[in-house]
Symmetry: C2
Subunit: 530 residues, 2 copies
């Protein structure tokens, strides 16, 4: 991955430039009139004041370690707006002393032994796509980043049970490439898919692209193998078990604070053959929410059930609707999904929903390539969005998202409060020059996962502080309404203050005690979780 951007999303080659950049800037100029869209080039990383590495690896591990400044800078932060904006400003904060890339599990063991002995902090690193500062060594003292990218193999496939033993460092596309010849898929497609790893998904309880059922990485996990400073933990490979509290659920979401996940047996699926997608328009957002809830509670389990509010529908799917646009899809590897879709559309119609365009039906192995219409427009925006975000961050725009989940009964009040607070913050902080959108990324029978997008005119040099102020305001609203500080972006360092208030104190004590047994020297990702 030599072409990876050190300061922003993905690869340098895929950056938004030329005509694409011009079109984007033109579009944004009309949305935030009067905003200064001067382009600020990223600094030359070799010109930045990065301290020399304070750490020397033992001879046996020296071949795994890199002290290259650009490598270190590229691993110092994740890919949130505030990470990108700080990088663009040449604001060098904490940078790991070394990037260490183990080639084997034994290398991981040896690195943890060395770092425990020498009191060096270790930040486990997957694809570095965190938007919550999960990999940023925001503390003093020596620290290495443990980049797992070389542990990238599917080691074993069980086609009978549809499961595979997979090394944690594999990136999404390479993982799917290794499963495809077996007609299997993990079918876990977070927005970060191209630049995130299995281990990262597991450590952060990633949400996946699909709206219902088997989409969370937690539910796709059969067993985990984890290296901790105290030794290696491996759970039995089981489809289900009631033997005590789940060992895997302790490591899922532990964000590198309890151990380094090296391998997992993951549940796979047959590659979908039938797929039907359609968009449904609503006049009224409240009715759209009610219709979406009814579908979520009907036991139909759509693949997508993604409600976009009118702003999101316009910006991302190019569709003008008064209330909301519900992107609805069903997929199956086993059977046509007509009966399922028909019933979902009946429910939507009962809440005032009108089909936009026609149902797109696919009966082929290549279902994923066929998206058209509003759903397709939405998907291409989804993949391209982080690159656009970077292009606009260079032009002083604040583009960021925040997400949560709550029960259906609380959504209306929560949503009203979030919208009011965020709009007020945009007014106060950005002179009102901004847009706020909402969509549901996931729907459960008992509640939605709302996801908000902010597009606001920042001021060059101040945009990080401006965003922090907006983010703090909305995080307070989430907390006051009993909504989670994160549904699938994880806690990291940025969500920690609210996480600490939302989490039961006794569970925090229990986790801290657990960490004490697994990582007695406290070297693993200090500041994370406990």
């Amino acid at each position: 991955m030599s072409d990876r951007s050190w300061w922003g999303w993905g690869t340098n080659a895929a950056a938004v430039v030329g005509a694409e950049a011009e079109a984007l800037v033109d579009r944004v100029a009309s949305l935030v009139p009067g905003h200064d869209l001067t382009d600020h080039e990223p600094p030359d990383p070799r010109s930045l004041p990065v301290s020399a590495s304070r750490v020397s690896p033992p001879a046996a591990l020296a071949g795994l370690a890199s002290d290259d400044v650009v490598d270190r800078l590229g691993h110092a932060r994740g890919k949130s707006f505030r990470d990108v904006a700080r990088n663009l400003a040449g604001d060098v904060g904490h940078v790991p002393d070394l990037v260490v890339r183990p080639r084997s599990e034994q290398d991981v063991v040896d690195v943890l032994d060395w770092c425990t002995r020498d009191a060096i902090a270790v930040v486990p690193y997957g694809g570095g796509s965190t938007v919550v500062a999960g990999v940023e060594p925001r503390f003093d003292g020596p620290v290495i980043t443990l980049d797992m990218e070389r542990l990238d193999q599917v080691l074993e496939i069980d086609t009978t049970s549809r499961a595979a033993r997979i090394q944690a460092g594999v990136y999404g596309p390479a993982l799917e490439d290794q499963l495809r010849p077996h007609s299997l898929t993990l079918r876990h497609f977070p927005q970060s898919f191209e630049f995130s790893t299995l281990g990262g998904w597991l450590a952060t309880r990633a949400g996946g692209h699909f709206a219902t059922l088997y989409t969370h990485i937690d539910d796709l996990t059969e067993s985990l193998r984890v290296v901790t400073p105290a030794g290696v933990s491996e759970s039995l490979r089981l489809p289900g078990s009631g033997a005590g509290p789940s060992p895997d659920r302790m490591f899922l979401g532990s964000e590198g604070a309890l151990g380094v996940i090296t391998e997992a047996w993951m549940r796979l699926q047959d590659r979908p053959r039938w797929k039907s997608t359609v968009s449904v328009a609503f006049d009224d957002f409240g009715k759209a929410v009610a219709g979406t809830r009814a579908i979520a509670q009907a036991g139909l389990y759509p693949t997508n059930c993604r409600l976009l509010d009118s702003g999101e529908a316009f910006l991302s799917a190019g569709t003008a609707v008064a209330g909301g646009l519900l992107v609805l899809a069903f997929e199956s590897a086993d059977h046509p999904v007509d009966a399922w879709l028909a019933r979902a559309l009946e429910i939507a119609a009962g809440h005032g929903g009108t089909v936009v365009g026609k149902v797109e039906n696919t009966d082929a192995g290549a279902a994923r390539a066929s998206d058209g219409g509003a759903a397709g427009a939405w998907k291409s925006t989804f993949i391209r969005m982080p690159y656009q975000r970077d292009a606009l961050a260079r032009r002083s725009m604040i583009l960021e998202t925040f997400e949560t989940a709550c029960t259906w009964d609380r959504f209306e009040a929560l949503h009203a409060a979030v919208m009011a607070t965020a709009q007020e913050a945009i007014a106060d902080i950005c002179g009102g020059n901004g847009i706020l959108t909402c969509r549901f990324t996931h729907v459960y029978p008992d509640g939605p996962a709302p996801y908000y997008g902010i597009y606001a005119a920042g001021s060059w040099g101040d945009s990080v502080a401006q965003w922090d102020e907006i983010k703090a305001a909305v995080s307070e609203v989430l907390t006051a309404h009993g909504a989670t500080i994160t549904h699938h972006h994880a806690v990291g360092r940025d969500h920690r203050p609210w996480y600490d208030r939302q989490r039961p104190d006794l569970f925090a004590s229990a986790l801290l005690a657990a960490k004490g047994t697994l990582d007695p020297a406290g070297i693993l990702n200090p500041g994370i979780i406990v």
Copy 2:
């Protein structure tokens, strides 16, 4: 529940007596010819050598406590075969010094404070239906049993999100009675339903009656409220969250060792309206397994997908099949399920399955009452079985079950080894006079949960030791094949030796550390889990 049997299952009034007992004995006599079926009456509990209580509650708690001998004996054990057989033999083991019945959460807090102060062990107790000695104080020293039955109210119902806040001590029927007026159901029906509680289901990760999807109590849990000696822990009520490791998953399956669950917000469902049930016969067990697997992997999510081997089909459903009988059902509160069932039957037919009788369709609120045919016969046996077990235990029969889960690729070898080992044990220990059956209670895309039943001719006075020998032999086989020691019966004290070998050692250390923070005096259910 004044009519509860102190020595066996359920109520005294529902015991198998008279003509039902005669018919049962006749049937068994033909299955285990030559077995001595002499009936042994249970002893008068007041004649048993139960030590006087060593514990005096503080005055403020005295009104909650009972030192009645029959009450204490009734709480000393669960309802496994070995519990019942020991009771019938008048073998008094460890008996709690007091049974304490809190009326409020504050009572629970006060009891834990008192017991922490005075170093008295506390066994949290739901319905006492454990078959793994989860409530048996198998240790010396003073101990009270904390019977939660008075905390039996549904406190709050959120019909929008379909969820309710429920006190943990409520029994299954009383819980459903309180939800029914709202057209809602928890839809969690373990075999113990009538004599088990919400808190017990949560503490033991109960499996529920249904074969796929939302059947495990884990997945029905929105949030938990738990009283520990260190304080009260309450999680946020959320449909989903990715904020660190799940707090609820630490308490789910903790079997009373980490705290006393007092309340939970539980996910509910609309009461099913459409239901279709049919049985499918297979000539060959291997083909039946393959067909069941294909249905489990098709994304159809049947309510039941219960494969009975020929012995189980004959004994429990009264149906003679050469290979296996698949009881297949679909239910919905929202839509007819014809399309789902039709596709499942197509898959079954592709594996040589033949429909037995006709599809039973129900379109009514009273779906549950309508079962007929093999499926209905199976269900009535299922409910009546524990009473029959008691009647036969009085007649020196060993009737017990064990259950597990494994991935599909391992099932064939595991099953062959379990059957061979158990049959050999029956031959060695019971002179070959016995029957062994298998069914799947749950099926997952990646594996089944096989459940085995043993009906063997024991010897009066020796049947507990005989069963223990059989159980140890099959537990070794499960462990050798990487299958879990328990899929839904929990660990308790009886499974502990194998659980300790199957669980990652580092997870055991982490749990022990967690317990140290929540229960520093170690009073909660000593010997359980850690």
